[in-house]
């Protein structure tokens, strides 16, 4: 049954360390993300935004609680299942882009498709199409270090969208960008959401993004304070 909810968490918690060294990164987080919408997660540094995104993206395992993606419990998946989920259903745009310096821009975008087992022609066509969409056409052969921060962010966004994910997670996507680039990127994200039909969760400090987002949650000390 499709109730319009693509992502749901129940009592999600994450702690690091034990005993007196124990740090609570997330505590009893319950959220629902509607399909095809943008959710902004905001809050001060250290509030647990990145931890939440890593848990939602299957990059880390929670200490407590459950995550459901399209009705399927993610928290009970094994490593193989999580890998499959990350490459086929979820796109991740990291705070510092995490592009592979040894690969060209084109190869970076093709990466997730390679792990999905797509043909070279299919990968190349899709990567070129995405790079054209994000305004990086003509720079396919360059290395990431030869691009500006804004361009790298666009390449990372193209990579996240390569396999047509149902969910795109973006960690501080505008953190290293000036205002003009930030606005362009978010316009791109909105276009992508509409064009690709993806749902997007953005962890951000950028209040412009927060204001424009149809739904938002405010995190403080690992807890949802509002939203």
């Amino acid at each position: 049954m499709d109730d319009g909810i693509i992502l749901r968490t129940e009592g999600l918690g994450k702690t690091y360390g034990n005993g007196p060294e124990k740090t609570v990164a997330l505590d009893n987080v319950n959220l629902r993300v509607m399909r095809g919408k943008l959710l902004a997660v905001y809050g001060p540094s250290g509030s647990g935004k990145t931890t939440l995104l890593f848990l939602l993206g299957g990059l880390d395992r929670p200490s407590s609680g459950r995550i459901y993606f399209d009705g399927v419990e993610v928290t009970s998946m094994d490593e193989r299942g999580l890998s499959k989920l990350r490459r086929s259903a979820i796109g991740f745009v990291f705070q510092n882009y995490n592009l592979v310096e040894e690969l060209t821009v084109l190869e970076n975008v093709m990466l997730t498709m390679m792990f999905e087992g797509k043909s070279d022609k299919e990968m190349r066509n899709r990567a070129e199409q995405l790079l054209h969409k994000v305004g990086i056409a003509g720079k396919e052969r360059r290395r990431p270090s030869q691009l500006s921060a804004g361009e790298q962010q666009r390449v990372a966004t193209a990579r996240a969208l390569a396999n047509g994910p149902r969910l795109v997670l973006m960690d501080e996507p505008t953190g290293n960008l000036d205002q003009e680039n930030s606005q362009e990127l978010m316009q791109l994200v909105n276009d992508m959401i509409r064009g690709e039909g993806a749902t997007c969760v953005v962890a951000t400090h950028n209040l412009d993004i927060v204001h424009e987002a149809p739904s938002k949650i405010f995190l403080k000390s690992g807890r949802i304070v509002s939203g």
């Binding site: 193989r80 499959k84 995490n98 592979v100 997730t112």
Partner: protein, 355 residues
């Protein structure tokens, strides 16, 4: 840089393996070939000698052996290594009148030596081709001019040697009434064992055995050499595995972030392992090809001293190159197992958070 060093390390391993194995093979082929190609049915060497060049016994023993009932021929053969036109060759000093009864040969040109006359020799076909001489030409034997009476062919190691009269060989070596060995032909091959027993009884200071057993007399030496070669291969291979594994680990650690990105973008545990193995396979192929090429080039120019002044060129055996290829790629893959398993367990969130 680390990858280049790994490739060079593998190439060095291949060179070591091919070098050691080729050395042993060359020795085995030459020595075994030389002792089993002198004809006859029974060899008589001095006791304890493991190679006819190291054997020395009185020439008079030949007549004593000949006096044994059932022996049709007992002829002395003096073996010596001499230079022929600046090439080292095994020279057999034989009694010319008895030589045709000793060995099956055909003359490709000229005639076999037929008297004890000095200054005349018959040369094997392969050696003649090596020095570029034929019947009627002159050749320098140990610095002295000899006329080549003819070129013979036996299809044995003798084709790489030459024949001179026994008396001339004795003079060249400086032996008086001594010879290297006695080659015996029996009247009835069924009595070979009996005659061997009689020779051992008659001459306690010699060792008599079937000619066909000559290679096996030196086989313990080669068994030891092969064991040493195997030990060297094992030690070098283990060192290579550990060295390359260490290099791989450090190399992969430096690229931890790259593999974390791979995992974060959907690469599975198995895909990471496959990537590392694929990379190691390529490095293994590169190192192996470089090692094989180096081995071929270097060993083609290397000669080894067989005994005293005998130098023979290294024989490049194809099977050694095949085994070397298998060894090189296997070592490269073996050295990738632990690093691959380790890197495949990388936790992206930890790498991204803590570097």
């Amino acid at each position: 840089m680390r990858t280049v060093l790994t490739v060079l390390g593998l190439a060095a391993l291949i060179l070591t393996y091919v070098g050691v194995q080729s050395l042993v093979s060359t020795l085995e082929i030459n020595v075994t070939g030389s002792v089993s190609s002198l004809g006859g049915e029974i060899d008589v060497w001095s006791k304890g000698a493991v190679f006819p060049l190291l054997s020395r016994l009185p020439e008079s023993y030949a007549s004593q052996v000949k006096s044994i009932s059932g022996v049709s021929l007992a002829t002395p053969v003096a073996l010596v290594q001499l230079t022929v036109d600046n090439n080292y060759a095994l020279v057999a000093g034989v009694v010319p009148a008895q030589f045709p009864h000793l060995l099956n040969y055909t003359m490709t040109s000229g005639t076999m030596i037929s008297s004890n006359q000095s200054g005349i020799l018959a040369i094997g076909k392969a050696l003649a081709a090596t020095i570029g001489k034929g019947a009627g030409d002159s050749a320098q034997l140990n610095g002295q001019d000899y006329r080549i009476s003819g070129v013979y062919e036996t299809n044995t190691w003798m084709d790489y040697s030459l024949v001179i009269p026994h008396t001339v060989a004795q003079q060249l070596i400086g032996w008086v009434n001594q010879t290297s060995m006695i080659v015996v032909v029996t009247q009835d091959p069924r009595n070979v064992n009996t005659i061997i027993g009689q020779i051992r009884t008659l001459l306690p200071t010699v060792d008599a055995f079937r000619t066909s057993e000559a290679p096996s007399r030196i086989s313990p030496i080669f068994a030891s050499l092969e064991a040493i070669a195997t030990d060297i291969t094992i030690i070098v291979s283990l060192s290579a595995v550990l060295g390359i594994m260490n290099s791989n680990l450090n190399n992969l650690r430096e690229r931890m972030r790259t593999f974390a990105i791979f995992k974060a973008t959907g690469a599975s545990y198995g895909q990471i392992i496959k990537l590392v193995f694929y990379e190691s396979f390529l490095i293994g192929v590169l190192g192996t090809l470089l090692g094989l090429a180096l081995s071929y080039v270097i060993l083609s120019f290397v000669s080894i001293p067989l005994i005293e002044t005998i130098n023979v060129k290294i024989i490049l055996v194809p099977s050694i190159f095949i085994y070397a290829s298998i060894l090189g790629i296997s070592i490269s893959m073996a050295a990738a197992i632990y690093p691959a398993l380790k890197i495949a367990k990388v936790r992206p969130q930890e790498v991204f958070r803590f570097g």
